[in-house]
C-alpha cells in the first residue's frame, strides 16, 4: 500500500470515520486514497472551517477530531483553529501535506515551515521523514492528543512519502492514552480545609467535562451541598435548575456568582485555570478565600493564583475522594437567596427583539440534548447567560482564544458527530461573515444546522467597549452595510427568514426548529443593546456595571 493509504488505514484503526479538510497539491496522494476509503470526508470551504469543524466534532462527541490541509497556505489556514484547540484543550489531529523531501528547505512552491509555525499552537508536531515512521507518528498523535491535558497534534507528511509503497505490517493494536494519575498526598489537607470552611464555593471549569467527570461533579455537589459557579467552558456541568448553581462567573457573569465568589472563604477550582476573564483584577479576586485547585495540568497550579492545596490528576477519582457531607446550610441558603434576588429580568420596553429573551425562548423550546455553538461577541455572552445546557458537550464556544468565525463550522462538526441531535449555531453579524463560506458545506451535505444570526449591524462587543471606555469613538464597528443575509442564505439554497419584532419570536423559533434541513433565522436587534453585567478591565468582580 502507499503511504497515503497507510495513513487512512491507521486513522480507521483509531476509530476515525469522518474527517474535515480541503485538498491541494501536496496532499493530493492522500485525497486520491480518500476516493476509495470508507472514511467520510467533509469538504469545508476554507481550511479554518475544517479546523473548527474538527474542534466542534471533538467537543460534541468527546472523540478526536481530524482535519486535513495541503502545504503552504492550506496549512497556515489551520493555525487559528489549532490555536483554539490548544487554548480550550481539544483533542484534534491535523494532517498537512508537505512538499517532497527533496524540495524541503528550498522555498518550493507552497512550501512553508508549518512545523516551525505550529509550535505555539499545538501540543506536539511531527514531520514524517520515512514512510516507516507513519504508524508510530499516527499512534503518538492520538495518544498525545487525548492524554493529560488534551490538545491538538499536527503531522506533516511530504508528498513523496504519501506516494511511496510500503509493506508495513499493521498487526499491532493502537496504543491507548494512559489513565491520568490520582492525587493522594494532599487529600488530607484538602479535606481539612473543606471541613473548616463556612462559605465554600465550587468553581467549575471545562476540565470537568473534558475528563468525563460530570457525574462525579454532580454527585460531589449533591453530597457536599456546596454552591457552585461555572466558567464559559464549564457551562452544562451542573444543571441550570440545580439549587446549588449560581451561574457563570467573571466579566459577564451573574451578580450572584460573582458576589458569592468574592465572599467565599474556600474556593475549590475544578478543571479551571483562573483565566483573566474569570478573575477580573487578580489581586482582588476572592481575597478572603483559601484555594484548593484540582486539575490535570501541573503547569496551571500557582500560575495565576497561589493555592493552598493542589490535587493533581484524574478528576473523576479525586472528586470522589473529597466528597463528604458538609455543614454549610446557612451559606447555601444565602447563595440561593442571591440567585433569586438577582435573577435575570426579561422585561424590555418597546417592540424590538431583546436578544436575551430571544435566546431564552430558543433554550426553552429546543429539544433535550441539543447542541448550541456560538461565535464571539455580545451574542456569545447572551447565549452563555440565558441558555441552559444539559451537559458541557452541548455548549461549544471559543473560550480561550475568542475566535470569531467559530460558530458555523464548529456546528457543522458537532452535527456530523451527533446526527440525531439538534444543533443550533448562535452567531452575530460580524462573526458570521468570518466563515460565511461554510454555508456551502451545509448545502453540499444538507447538514441541518439551525443558524440564529443576531444582527445589530455592529461589531457589538467592540462597540460596547468603545461606548464605555473609549469616549464613544466608534472606530470601524459600524456594519450597517452588511449584505442581505436572507438573500445570501438563499444563494446557497438554505431557507432563511428575517424577524425584527418580539411578537414574531415564538413562531419563528418553532418554525426553525421544525425545519428538516439547514435554516437561517436572521434576527434584527437594536444596535445599542449591551451585555450586562460587565466587570470593567482590571476591576474586582463585585464592581460590575449593570446598565448605563
Amino acid at each position: 500500500m502507499t503511504g497515503a493509504e497507510l495513513v487512512l488505514n491507521l486513522l480507521q484503526r483509531h476509530g476515525v470515520s469522518e474527517v474535515f479538510g480541503y485538498p491541494g497539491g501536496a496532499i493530493m496522494p492522500l485525497y486520491d486514497a480518500i476516493y476509495d476509503s470508507p472514511i467520510k470526508h467533509y469538504l469545508c470551504r476554507h481550511e479554518q472551517g475544517a479546523a473548527f469543524a474538527a474542534v466542534g466534532f471533538a467537543r460534541a462527541s468527546r472523540k478526536v477530531g481530524v482535519c486535513l490541509a495541503t502545504s503552504g497556505p492550506g496549512a497556515t489556514n489551520l493555525i487559528t483553529g489549532l490555536a483554539d484547540a490548544m487554548s480550550d484543550s481539544v483533542p484534534v489531529v491535523a494532517i498537512t501535506g508537505q512538499v517532497a523531501r527533496g524540495s524541503l528547505g528550498s522555498d518550493a512552491f507552497q512550501e512553508v515551515d508549518i512545523i516551525g509555525l505550529s509550535f505555539a499552537v499545538t501540543k506536539h508536531c511531527i514531520q514524517i521523514s520515512e514512510a516507516s515512521e507513519i504508524p508510530q507518528a499516527i499512534n503518538d498523535a492520538f495518544v498525545i492528543a487525548q492524554s493529560g491535558r488534551m490538545g491538538p497534534v499536527l503531522i506533516d507528511i511530504p508528498k513523496d512519502i504519501q506516494i511511496e509503497q510500503t509493506d508495513i505490517d499493521l498487526v499491532s493494536s493502537p496504543e491507548k492514552a494512559p489513565l491520568n494519575p490520582v492525587a493522594c498526598s494532599q487529600v488530607t489537607e484538602a479535606k481539612k480545609l473543606l471541613v473548616e470552611a463556612k462559605k465554600p464555593i465550587l468553581y467549575v471549569g471545562g476540565g470537568v467535562g473534558m475528563a468525563g467527570a460530570v457525574d462525579e461533579l454532580r454527585a460531589f455537589v449533591a453530597n457536599t451541598n456546596i454552591p457552585c459557579v461555572e466558567t464559559l467552558k464549564g457551562l452544562g456541568t451542573v444543571p441550570a435548575e440545580d439549587e446549588h448553581y449560581l451561574g457563570m462567573l467573571g466579566m459577564h457573569g451573574t451578580k450572584a456568582a460573582n458576589l458569592a465568589v468574592q465572599q467565599c472563604d474556600l474556593l475549590i477550582a475544578v478543571g479551571a485555570r483562573f483565566d483573566d476573564r474569570v478573575t477580573g483584577k487578580l489581586a482582588e479576586f476572592a481575597v478572603n478565600a483559601k484555594v484548593i485547585h484540582m486539575d490535570i495540568d501541573k503547569a496551571e497550579v500557582n500560575k495565576r493564583r497561589q493555592v493552598d492545596v493542589a490535587l493533581l490528576g484524574n478528576l473523576k477519582a479525586n472528586l470522589n475522594v473529597l466528597s463528604m457531607p458538609l455543614d454549610v446550610d446557612l451559606w447555601q441558603q444565602h447563595c440561593r437567596f442571591m440567585r433569586s434576588d438577582y435573577a435575570w429580568q426579561y422585561n424590555h420596553p418597546g417592540d424590538n427583539i431583546f436578544a436575551p429573551a430571544l435566546l431564552k425562548t430558543i433554550s426553552d423550546s429546543m429539544p433535550a440534548d441539543s447542541v448550541v455553538t456560538t461565535d464571539v461577541g455580545q451574542h456569545q455572552m447572551w447565549a452563555a447567560q440565558h441558555m441552559a445546557f444539559d451537559r458541557p458537550e452541548n455548549f461549544l464556544s471559543s473560550g480561550g482564544q475568542g475566535a470569531m468565525g467559530f460558530g458555523l463550522p464548529s456546528a457543522i462538526g458537532a452535527q456530523v458527530s451527533r446526527p440525531n441531535d439538534t444543533v443550533i449555531a448562535v452567531s452575530g453579524d460580524g462573526s458570521f461573515m468570518m466563515n460565511v463560506q461554510e454555508l456551502g458545506t451545509l448545502k453540499r451535505y444538507n447538514i441541518p444546522v439551525k443558524i440564529v444570526l443576531v444582527d445589530n449591524a455592529r461589531l457589538g462587543m467592540v462597540r460596547q467597549w468603545q461606548q464605555l471606555f473609549f469616549q464613544e469613538r466608534y472606530s470601524e464597528t459600524d456594519l450597517s452595510d452588511n449584505p442581505d443575509f436572507v438573500m445570501l442564505a438563499k444563494a446557497f439554497d438554505i431557507k432563511a427568514v428575517t424577524i425584527s419584532k418580539k411578537e414574531q419570536v415564538q413562531s419563528a423559533v418553532e418554525e426553525m426548529l421544525a425545519h428538516e434541513g439547514p435554516y437561517l433565522l436572521h434576527v434584527q436587534i437594536d444596535a445599542l443593546d449591551n451585555v450586562w453585567p460587565l466587570v470593567p478591565p482590571e476591576t474586582a468582580n463585585e464592581a460590575m456595571l449593570e446598565s448605563t
Binding site: 512545523i115 516551525g116 505555539a120 501540543k123 495540568d297 501541573k298 497550579v301 500557582n302 500560575k303
Partner: protein
C-alpha cells in the same frame, strides 16, 4: 525588579524540533536565555541541554511548562546555591 538567573538541565529525545520547542516556551513564558549548551549523549543517543534563563519570575512555572514538551524526558533546576543573582 530583581532578575534571577537560574540553570536548568534537560534530558531529551534527539528529536529535530525539541530545541526549538524549548526555546519557544522559554521566550513565550517570559524568560530570557543567557547561556545554552547542548550535547548528544553517546550512551543513549539522547540530548543533554543546559540552559540558563533570566527572569523576575519563579523558575518552577517554567519547569512545569517545559515538562509538557513531549520529547523532554527529564528536567531539573540546579541547586539554588549555585545560582547567581543579578540586580
Amino acid at each position: 525588579m530583581m532578575q534571577l538567573v537560574q540553570q536548568i538541565q534537560i534530558q531529551a529525545k534527539d528529536s529535530p524540533v525539541v530545541l526549538e520547542r524549548i526555546l519557544q516556551v522559554i521566550r513565550y513564558r517570559g524568560y530570557k536565555v543567557c547561556h545554552l549548551n547542548m550535547n548528544k549523549s553517546p550512551k543513549n543517543k539522547g540530548l543533554t541541554i543546559e540552559v540558563s534563563v533570566e527572569s523576575d519570575k519563579m523558575v518552577e512555572n517554567l519547569i512545569h511548562q517545559l515538562g509538557k514538551i513531549v520529547d523532554i524526558e527529564q528536567i531539573k533546576v540546579k541547586d539554588q546555591a549555585e545560582q547567581k543573582i543579578t540586580a
